[in-house]
Amino acid sequence: MSDFKRRYGRRRVIQGGLAGILATGVSPLILSRGAWAQEFCNAPTGDTVTLGFNVPQTGAYADEGADELRAYELAVEHLNGEGDGGLIPHFSSDTLTGNGILGKRVEYVTGDTQTQSDPARESARRMIERDGAVMITGGSSSGVAVAVQSLCQDMGIIFMSALTHSNDTTGKDKRRYGFRHFFNAYQSGVGLGPQLGQAYGNQRRAYHLTADYTWGWTQEESMIAATEALGWETVEAVRTPVGAGDFSQYITPVLNSGADVLILNHYGFDGVNSLTQAVQFGLKDRQANGQDFQLVLPLVSDLMAAGAGEAMQGVYGTSNWYWSQPDEASQAFTASFGARWGSPPSQAAHTSYVQTLLYADAVERAGTFYPPEVIRALEDFEFDGMGNGPTLYRGSDHQCFKDVLVVQGKETPSNQYDLLEVVSTASRESVTYDPEIFGGELGPYEPNMCA
């Protein structure tokens, strides 16, 4: 055999060719794992990454928006290694080290949703197109969340919703790119029902005033289902415009309706106004059907309790989280937020902060900002140490499942922040449901390119 044949024989050529193919084709894939730099919307290229905080700074839910913004700023500080770290040391996942996200320093831009869908979409679009935000988060208002979530799906940007409580957000309007840590109206109904039955009995006639948009509708539907299961009768369900301000013309008919419970499916300033005005109309001191008249506010926050003052005393509702919860994580977050801002965090602030950390952690675990990989990291993620106990991010609808707090306005607050009392807890198992009941389709993983 000649030297040439020995040196360049068939086997050697094939071996060499295969080695070449591997070297030129496969190794770059290994070396660049997670590097989809130019293949998705707003892929971070420098040493910073921008998050978009889209909150209501004006409108009916502006109080919640202001607190959400404080929480987001705190989350950014903690992700960048500043401050006491807040919930990071308590989080069951240990990927966050205070070195930003994937080593990139976290920066942020903010927008005002005005508590309206169209301005919220415009604001989100501006943050994506002009500011290069790689993730959008915020609320409040389910109408806003559903609208922005849909936009984010279309543009290939992950949306970590903050305060949104409609069943539709992770039901019929769910999206692959949208994730909700906050609980929902169905879970409020399941959690609150037994407490109402225990406190007020099963011979009640309920009148509903309902905010006329997606959240109000599903809240009303869930509360009617929960109270009728107790044996209550629904007298009337009346829709009221969001931001009505003066609810007196809707409260007046309640007086002679034959109802003995008024359920206010209102939130934010609407909830504060309708509750305060209902008390001004003497409903709390009224007798109907031989029983004391009762007021119920199914979704309550401490910000609303502060706004409503004495009117909130004794009124039942549900909360996603409350700052005085005794677990270590809740106390750590309250201490961190209180030291930074001089007041305890609201449930809106808590969910906003948690969502930011959950996104950062998912990116770290995925090893990339590439949305499909981040989505897969969040789907069916089981975690703890965020103040809600063991929690599951269900993959089939992107809804978090955790315990639900049933709260009541305190009769004798010990200080200006001690406004609610957690009277019972509905377990995660009891508020878990079949995702099929609310329908909807998540849609594809593949991202669109900011369009």
Binding site: V238, S248, R286, Q287, T334
Partner: protein
Amino acid sequence: MDAILAQLLNGLDKGAAYALIALGLTLVFGTLGVVNFAHGALFMLGAFCAVAFRQFITTETVTIDETQLSPWGTPLEVRTPMAEQWFGDWAPFLIDYSVPISIVLAIPFMLLVGIAMERGLIKHFYKRSHAEQILVTFGLAIVLQELVKTFFGPNPWPQPIPSDFRGAADVGAWFGMQAGAVTYPLWRLVYLLFAGVILGAVFAFLRFTTFGMVVRAGMADRETVGLLGINIDRRFTIMFGIAAVVAGLAGVMYTPLLPPNYNLGMDFLVLSFVVVVVGGMGSLPGAVAAGFLLGILQSFASMTQIKALIPGIDQIIIYFVAVVILLVRPRGLLGRRGVMEG
């Protein structure tokens, strides 16, 4: 019957606010011929007089007490109201009654604002078209709104009802009905009474004083009154100030019913403008009558039985009435012949 009485009361109560704002709006149109779109902003400014007074009266000094901890573990901030140092035993009363007391602040402030607005800006637009007047006063309203937003932020400022007027009155019992059949918030009744007093005072001022007589004469025939050697312009300027005071006082007393924010004026302006159109541009009795009428219609339209017949009627009833009036009787219910016609 009890349901109707309750809705009627609610309508009168709503109508009182509409009538107070619309009265000023139509007064300005009747005297100066100006369509003042900044009038709603005057209602809002009045409301913020109450907010500002309460802010002042509840000013606190903050000291850090290292021996006590806040709920989140930092040294406790101890807040001491300054009112106790300034006013002694009167402090709790002043804080409790901050809303009605702020009327004392609102009257001179609103008079000054009204006169400054008329002399500084609006008088330069008397001879311009209504469209230009609307544009400039609308712009002024936006400026006033943004000023308030700058100082007080975008969010509402809840104001308390004085403790003696919290709760509800058993109105049904006054009319011989069963106890508790119709209860109505005390402060809303106070507002209704207050509106009646203000409306009565304005009408009495115009009817029974020489000043009022001259103003009415000027409204009927400005040139002739001027030829008699009377400075009608100065009187009209004062009337502009009085209209601002009326709007401001309506705003002050409304704050416990609806926490004011910078946008409050715009919410009421549109409604009040409709009230003026329905009542008749420039007609004072028309504005008052239409204010109460539309308030009552709006209240009854919110009844469940009515909404079941025509869904959403509560949202459109006022505008529906305005459309009908403009089509059938363009000068409004009590408007002068020729105004808004042709």
